[in-house]
Structure formats: C-alpha cells, structure tokens
Amino acid sequence: MTSAPAAQRQEQRLPQTRGSRKSRKAAWFFVAPAFAFYAAFVLVPLAMSFYYSFLRWDGIGQARFHGITNYVTVLTDPKLLQIIGNAFQLVGYFTVIPVVLGLAVASVIRGHMAGPFGTATRTILFLPQVIPLVAAGIAWSWMFANTGVVNQGLRAIGLSDWARGWLGDFVWALPAVGIIGAWVLLGLCTILLVTGITKIDPSLYEAARLDGARPWHEFIYITLPGLRQEIAVCVTLTVISALASFDIVYIATQGGPGITTMVPGLEIYRLAFAHRQVGLASALAIVLMILVLISIAPIQWFAREKK
C-alpha cells in the first residue's frame, strides 16, 4: 500500500500544449505545403523587394548597389512625398465617410434589419463589395464625366457653375477618387456596424435613459464603446484599401491630372514597369508596406485593449 503525506495542493495551470510529441511533428506535414506557396510567392518576393530597394537597376542591365539612396529619395523627393500624402488624404474619404455614415445609420436603427426589407438592404448595400473595383472605377468615371449624373444633378438644382469634369480637375480629382472608394466601402461598414449594434444589450440603453441620459449621451457612452470592435474592423479595412489603392485610380484617373491622384500602389507599378526604376519602386513598396503596418497597429491595439 502506497501512502504519502498530502503534498501541497498547488493550482496547476494546464499548459496549452496537450498531446504527444509525435502528433506535433505530424502537424508540420499539414503546414508545409501552404508554407511553401507562401514562401515562394510572398516571402521570397518580399525579400527580393527589400534587396532591390538597395539597388539601382533598370530591370534588364547590370544592377549597382545604391545604398539607402532610394529610401532617401522616397522620403525627400517632393513628388513622392505628395504621392504618399495623397494616399493619406484618401484615408480621409475611404475611412471617415463610411464609418461616420455607418455609425449614423446604426445608431438610428439600433435593431435588426429583419424581413424582406433587411434582406434587400443587405443585398443592395453589399453590391459594391462584390463587383470588381475596376467596374466601380468605370461606373464612377462615367458618373463624374462632363455629361455624367453628378453634373446633371448639379444643373438640376441650379448649380451649373459647379459642374465640371471632376476627374480631370486639379482640385477635385482626388476627392472624386475618394468618393469612389467611400461608395465601395460604405455598404460593408454600414452592415457591420448595424449588426454590431444589435449585440449591445438593449437594457443598457434603458438603464441609461433611467439615469437621465440624452440620446447624445447614449451614443457616446453606450453605442461607441459597444461598437469598438466593429469600428476597429471598419477602420482597418478601409485604411488598408486607401493606402494600398490601385485599381480605382488606375481606371479612373491613371494618377492624373498631373500627379494629383497618384498613389503609391500605382507609382510602384509605373516606376518599375514604365520608368524601369526597379530599385526606387522597391523602396517605395517597402515604405508602403511599413506605412500600412504602422497605421494598422494602433487600431488593433485600440480594439484589443478592452479585453
């Protein structure tokens, strides 16, 4: 008979890993093929991008080591800085309009969009997410054209002076591109926020009302904190699509007039394949990647803080 003094009972935290070594080894086998593709078509090209970014290379002839000159150019050349600035201006349109409008709709509805009306709404608002961005670009190019719907509307309400070829206008082309992006992302953000708000316990609103809260207070103290996660998702998605935009600009303006709507994504393409400045294009690509990362990081942190 075995007996021993009762050992001190310690709270034993079960470590995350359970199971045997062998089963863990087998798991590698499942990961390997995906990793191979990922490495071949993402990691290796990314490393190459990094490598190219230190070269002066036209893509054909001899490449020469160029130090950090390309990065210096990206961060000092006024044109390139303007292009990067354009991307951040687009964030203003791509992100702010859908999130603000979505929030407005969500906080007014504050309930399920059930029934046929809800289904119809979801279907229609999702359409821009389903179609290629290229098609959105074409549709809006036509909307913004001299004889397009936008001008038609302006003339109809007596603002003929405002009518113009929007996408060819030095001042208005970038906002116009921004509107296209906002149109694409609006539905998704709205539905996300409307769905998110139904997850907030309605009794919170009742309690707030009993505490004497005004609708404005309800929005600030209940709706906004409750939608934190969804807002973070919307902001993340829209910021990425603004900073990394390519399709819409390529179709709608090709970066023009001048470089007023040029964005880093399109500039990388132009530099690498039209201007044969592979090194500079790669430096811009790396900078773009880092810009996206550091723009997203605080949003993710903000969303996670709650837990």
């Binding site: 798991a27 990961v31 389903v130 909307m143």
Partner: protein, 274 residues
C-alpha cells in the same frame, strides 16, 4: 425594447437614401449602355430608343465567352488548391500552439496586411524566370501564395474552436492524422470552408493588379483584368464601355444573388476576422 416610431422612419429614410446612392452608378451605366452607338450620352435618362444591341456588340467585342472561360479556369486553378492548403495548414497550426511554434503562425499573419503592390515587382521577375509570364499560371500560382495568410488565419480560427477531445477520440479509434483530418475535421469545417471558398472566388474573379502586371493578353486574364483592357481599348465609346462593364459584372452579381445569404455572411465574417 420598442423603438420610437419616428426613429424607425428616419432610419428607413437613411437606408433608402444609401441604397439609392449605391444603385445610382449602376443605373447610370445602364442608361449610358442603352444610348445609341458612338454618341456621348447625357447623364441619367431613359433613352428614347434603348439600344439593347449594344450588349450583343459588347459581348462580341469583348469576347465574353472566352473571358468567362479564362476567369473560370483561373478560379478553378486558384480556389480549390488554396482552400485545401489553407485548411490543412490551419489545422496544423491549430495543433501547434506552443510558444515554440507561435512564430510560424505569426509569419503567416504578417502577410495579412501586406499590400500586393509590395511584392508585385519581384513577382514579375520571378514569374518571368519560371517562364510563366503571359500564362494563366502567372496569376494562379502567386495568388495561391498571396491567399495563404488569410486562408490559414481563417481556418486556424475555426479549428481552434473544435474540441480537442474529438482529435483524441479519433486517435483512440485508430485514425491516423491524415484520416482524422479527412473523416472528422474536414466535414466539421464545412461552413468555414464554404465561406473561404466564396471569398477566394470573389477575390480571384475581381483580381486586377496581377493580371495587369503579369499577363498582357486579356484572354488569359481574370474578368476584372480583362475589363481593364477593355476600358483601355474602348474607353471613349461610353455606351459600349458601359455595356461591356455591365456584362462583365453580370456573372458575379448573378452568383451573388443566388448565394446572397452565404456571401453576406462570408464577407461579414471575412471582414471581422481579416
């Protein structure tokens, strides 16, 4: 909670306004597409004599049948393999949860925010070196790699929620890892796999950057890529361009309407998780 009536009305009004805004560009394209050939149509107006023939002409000019086939082939090349690899890796990574293996997952996750533009230049040289430039494989192979971060992330999230007991029960029942994966895990993952399939289909069909850079011939491209070429060629013929664009939209919209529920669910989850 009963909602105050006026609020509901305001909400409905707002939503209807949003819906009109969403539909307006499509309507404007339709009205332009029905305008007489070669004319410069004016805004949104129902043409006196709708030229439905424009669609026929756009179909022929754009070689829609070939485009559809090409897009279909690309989707067929990308989606099944991507889903399979992502499912396998998601399962594998859900099992490898120790700190020692966390880096592997983090490497995949890092790719989630990566703009495709960041790798497009070297991809061009890589694909050229493989001799695949101007073939559909130039789109298919890189896309599989580029989809791995999201796919793996997505499937891993699913597998983390499958009780570990099921794996162990299968082990005791005599299943090898591979059999357990196919007989137990994959059938259970069906909803997640379905959503992933829908999302990848959509993203592939609409992929633009890769075809523009890697494939010159519009007939080897995706629908979106071909539309870019179509615009380049017929950009000044507004009725034809609009008719072509609408035609190219039709397949996705039809599929979307058919699987509306699944699409919306997938896009929403995709957004939240991605």
């Amino acid at each position: 909670m009963t909602l105050p009536r006026p609020n509901t009305l305001v909400a409905r009004g707002l939503i209807i306004l949003l819906m009109i805004l969403t539909l307006l560009p499509f309507l404007s394209m339709l009205s332009a597409a029905l305008a007489p050939q070669g004319t410069y149509p004016n805004g949104l107006q129902w043409p006196a004599d709708p030229q439905w023939g424009n669609f026929v002409r756009a179909f022929e000019v754009a070689k829609m049948d070939q485009l559809l086939l090409s897009s279909f082939l690309i989707v067929l090349g990308v989606v099944p393999i991507s889903v399979l690899l992502a499912t396998m890796a998601g399962y594998g990574l859900a099992k490898l949860t120790t700190n020692k293996y966390k880096w592997l997952y983090l490497i995949f996750v890092f790719g989630l925010t990566l703009p495709f533009e960041a790798v497009i230049t070297p991809l061009y040289y890589e694909v050229r070196a493989m001799g695949l430039l101007n073939t559909r494989f130039a789109i298919i192979l890189p896309l599989i790699g580029l989809y791995m971060p999201f796919g793996v992330y997505w499937m891993r999230a699913h597998f983390l929620n499958v009780p570990h007991d099921l794996t162990e029960a299968a082990q005791l029942d005599g299943a090898s890892r591979w059999k357990e994966f196919w007989h137990v895990q994959v059938p259970l993952a069906r909803p997640a796999i379905m959503s992933l399939t829908i999302l990848l289909f959509l993203w592939t069909w609409n992929q633009f950057l890769l075809p523009v850079v890697l494939v010159q011939d519009p007939m080897q491209r995706t629908m979106a890529g071909a539309l870019g070429a179509f615009q380049g060629q017929w950009g000044t013929d507004i009725p034809l361009l609009c008719a072509g664009a609408l035609l190219i939209l039709t397949p996705t919209i039809l599929i979307f309407l058919m699987f509306q529920r699944q699409f919306v669910a997938a896009l929403m989850q995709g957004a939240v998780k991605g």
